[in-house]
Amino acid sequence: MESLMAYVIGILFAAAIYMMLRRSIVKMVIGLILLSNAANLLIFAVSGMKRGAPPLIPEGASAPLGPVADPLPQALILTAIVIAFGVLAFAVVLIRRAYEIVGTDDLDQMKDTDT
C-alpha cells in the first residue's frame, strides 16, 4: 500500500509541476490544486498507514490497547485542505479577474510588470 501511495504522490507532484509550467493560467491553477493534494497525500503516507486501528481508548483504560493509527496527520491534512480551499478559491477568482482585465490567458503576454 505504501509503495503504491509513493508512486501516486510522485505522479501527482510531476503532473502538478508540468501543469504549472504551461503558459495558460487555468492550467497553472490546476497545477497548484494538484500540488496541494500531493502534499496532503504525502503527509498521510509518511506518517505510517494503518488500517482498522482507530485511536480510541476503551472504557476503563487510560491508554490505547495495542498499536493505533496516528490521528495527528489526519488533523493536519484536514487543516491543510481547508487552507488550500481558501487560497485556491482566491486564485481562481484572481485568474478570472486577470483574464477580464488583461484580456488573455497566456502568461507570456503578462509581462507589464516584468523587469
Binding site: 500540488l35 500531493a38 509518511v46 493536519l76 487560497v87 479577474r97 507589464d112 510588470t113 516584468d114 523587469t115
Partner: protein, 504 residues
C-alpha cells in the same frame, strides 16, 4: 508563564473582527486602525520587557503540556520582531488615513491590514511548525487581497506571479513539514530540535532542511527565488507596498533564522555554505537589478532583495558576531525600508508619478522632505553615523573574522552600489530641475493645501527618528541583538524554556 505573548496576536485579530463588523463606517475603521495598532505596539513593548526579564516567555494553548499542545514562544529575537511589527503597523495605520483611496477603504482595507499583522505576529511567536504554516497562510491570504485591492492591470499581473510562487512555496513547506513529522513524530519546534539528533538517516534530514530552505527562500526573496518580488511590490497603493516591504520578506528571514539555528544544525558545513552563496548572490543580483531601474518603487523593491542578502549572510556565517549583525540588520532594515516607501508615496502625492523622469525639483520646494528622504537613504547605503553603518559594519567585520573574504568583498561592493542607487533617486527626484513636461505642480508649489497632510509626515518623521536612535544610540540596540544571538546559538535554552522549567 505570562499572557503577554498572546496579545500581539489577539489584538490585531480582534481589531480585524471589529472592523469587519463596522464594515459600513470607514471612520470607525480608521479610528480602530490607529487605536489597535498603537495597542499592538504597546503590547509588543510589554512583551519585550517580559522577555528581557525572564529570557523566554512561553504559553501553552489550552494548558496542555508542551509537546502535545501548540505553544507560543517569545525569545528575544521574536520579541524584537514583534516590536518592529508594532512600529510599522502604527506608522502604516496613520499613513493610511490620508494615502489610501476611499474605494479601497470601503472594500475592507483595514480588516485585511489587521489580519496581515496578526499573521505576521503569529509567525514570529509560534513554537509549533504546523502552526507556523497556518500563520503563513493567514498572512498570505490577507496579502493577496491587499495586493489586488483596486484591480488595475499591473496589479493583476503582479498578483498572479506573487500568488503562484507563494502558493508553491507553501506546498513545499507543507511537504517538508510532513516529511519531518514522519521522521521525528512531533511538531513542536523545541521537541523536534531535541529529536533530530536521534534520526537514523541524516541524509534525509538534510534533504528536508533544503526543502525548508527553498520554501523560506521564496518567502524571503533570496536568490534565485526572488522574481515574484520586483514583479509585484510596486503595483499596489503605497501604504500596502510599504507594509509588505517592511514585514513580509522578513517573516521568511525570521523563519530561516529559527530553523537553521534551532533545528537544522547537524550539517552546518553543507547547509550554511549554500546559504552563504545564496546570500552573496542575493546581495549582488538585487543591487544590480536596482541599478537598471528608473522607477522609484522598483528601485526600492530590488534593494529589499539585496538587503535580504546581508541578513542571510549574518545567518550563514554562523558565528556569534555574525548573528548579532544579522539581527541588528533586520531591525535597521525594516524601519528604513518602510520609511523609504512612505517617502516615495509623498512624492507621488506631490507630482503624481513614480517614474524618475517625471519627478524633480522637490528639494527646491520641500527641503525638509528631502532631508527626510536622505536619512533613511543614507542609512540604507551605510553612511555613518546612521543605523545602516553599524548594521553593515558588524556583518562585514564578522565576515572578515570568519575569513570569508570573497563574500565580504561582495558585501562591501554592494554597499557602494546601494549608495549609487540612492544618489540616483536623490539626483533625479530631489536635486534636478522639474522636467518641463510635468504640469501638475500645484501641490508641489504649495498652491493646493491639503487638510490632513500631517498624517503623511508623522510616520515618516517617526521612523526617521527611530533610524537616528538606532544609529546614534547603538549600544543598547547592539546589546539587544547580542542577547538574541546568544539565545539563537544555544538552542538548549529554547528547548528548556518550552519543554521544562517554566511549566505551571
Amino acid at each position: 508563564m505570562s499572557s503577554a505573548v498572546v496579545y500581539p496576536i489577539l489584538l490585531p485579530l480582534l481589531a480585524g473582527a471589529l472592523s469587519l463588523a463596522l464594515w459600513r463606517s470607514v471612520r470607525w475603521q480608521r479610528t480602530l486602525g490607529v487605536v489597535f495598532n498603537a495597542a499592538l505596539l504597546w503590547a509588543s513593548i510589554w512583551l519585550l520587557q517580559e522577555v528581557m526579564e525572564h529570557g523566554f516567555v512561553t504559553m501553552e494553548m489550552g494548558s496542555w503540556p508542551a509537546p502535545f499542545s501548540i505553544v507560543l514562544v517569545a525569545d528575544v529575537l521574536a520579541a524584537i520582531m514583534v516590536v518592529l511589527t508594532g512600529i510599522i503597523g502604527l506608522a502604516i495605520a496613520i499613513y493610511s488615513l490620508v494615502s489610501t483611496p476611499r474605494g479601497h477603504e470601503k472594500f475592507g482595507y483595514y480588516p485585511l491590514m489587521h489580519l496581515l499583522l496578526a499573521g505576521v505576529a503569529g509567525s514570529f511567536l509560534t513554537g509549533d511548525i504546523f502552526n507556523l504554516f497556518v500563520w503563513f497562510e493567514v498572512m498570505l491570504l490577507a496579502s493577496f487581497a491587499l495586493l489586488t485591492l483596486g484591480g488595475e492591470r499591473a496589479q493583476m499581473e503582479g498578483a498572479i506571479k506573487y500568488v503562484t510562487l507563494n502558493l508553491f512555496s507553501s506546498a513545499i513547506f507543507l511537504t517538508a513539514v510532513g516529511l519531518l513529522y514522519g521522521m521525528v513524530g512531533t511538531l513542536n519546534m523545541a521537541d523536534i530540535a531535541q529529536k533530530v539528533a536521534q534520526v537514523e538517516d541524516p541524509g534525509m534530514l538534510t534533504v528536508v532542511a533544503m526543502l525548508f530552505m527553498v520554501s523560506f527562500g521564496i518567502k524571503a526573496a533570496a536568490f534565485p527565488l526572488f522574481f515574484w518580488l520586483p514583479a509585484s511590490y510596486h503595483t499596489p497603493q503605497v501604504a500596502v507596498s510599504a507594509l509588505f516591504a517592511g514585514l513580509l520578506t522578513k517573516v521568511g528571514v525570521y523563519a530561516l533564522f529559527r530553523m537553521f539555528t534551532l533545528i537544522f544544525t547537524q550539517d552546518v558545513d553543507y547547509t550554511h555554505t549554500i546559504l552563504l552563496w545564496a546570500a552573496s548572490l542575493t546581495m549582488l543580483t538585487g543591487v544590480l537589478g536596482a541599478a537598471a531601474q528608473f522607477e522609484f518603487r522598483r528601485i526600492l523593491s530590488f534593494h529589499i532583495i539585496s538587503q535580504i542578502g546581508y541578513m542571510m549572510l549574518g545567518l550563514a556565517l554562523y558565528t556569534p558576531l555574525a548573528l548579532i549583525g544579522g539581527v541588528f540588520y533586520i531591525m535597521h532594515h525594516i524601519i528604513v525600508k518602510t520609511n523609504l516607501f512612505l517617502v516615495s508615496g509623498i512624492t507621488y502625492r506631490l507630482l503624481g508619478s513614480y517614474e524618475l523622469k517625471d519627478l524633480g525639483g522637490v528639494y527646491k520646494h520641500k527641503p525638509w522632505l528631502a532631508i527626510l528622504f536622505l536619512i533613511p537613504a543614507l542609512s540604507l547605503a551605510g553612511i555613518p553615523p546612521l543605523s545602516g553603518f553599524f548594521a553593515k559594519f558588524i556583518v562585514i567585520r564578522a565576515g572578515i573574522e570568519a575569513e570569508a573574504y570573497v563574500v565580504t568583498g561582495i558585501a562591501l561592493l554592494v554597499g557602494l552600489l546601494t549608495l549609487y542607487s540612492m544618489i540616483k533617486i536623490w539626483a533625479e527626484v530631489f536635486w534636478k530641475k522639474l522636467p518641463e513636461h510635468v504640469t501638475n505642480t500645484a501641490r508641489l508649489e504649495g498652491r493646493i493645501k491639503d487638510k490632513h497632510n500631517w498624517a503623511f509626515y508623522v510616520p515618516v518623521v517617526g521612523l526617521a527618528v527611530c533610524t537616528l536612535i538606532i544609529g546614534l544610540n547603538g549600544q543598547p540596540i547592539y546589546e539587544l541583538a547580542e542577547k538574541a544571538a546568544t539565545q539563537l546559538l544555544n538552542p538548549q535554552l529554547y528547548i528548556d524554556a518550552v519543554l521544562g522549567g517554566q511549566q505551571p
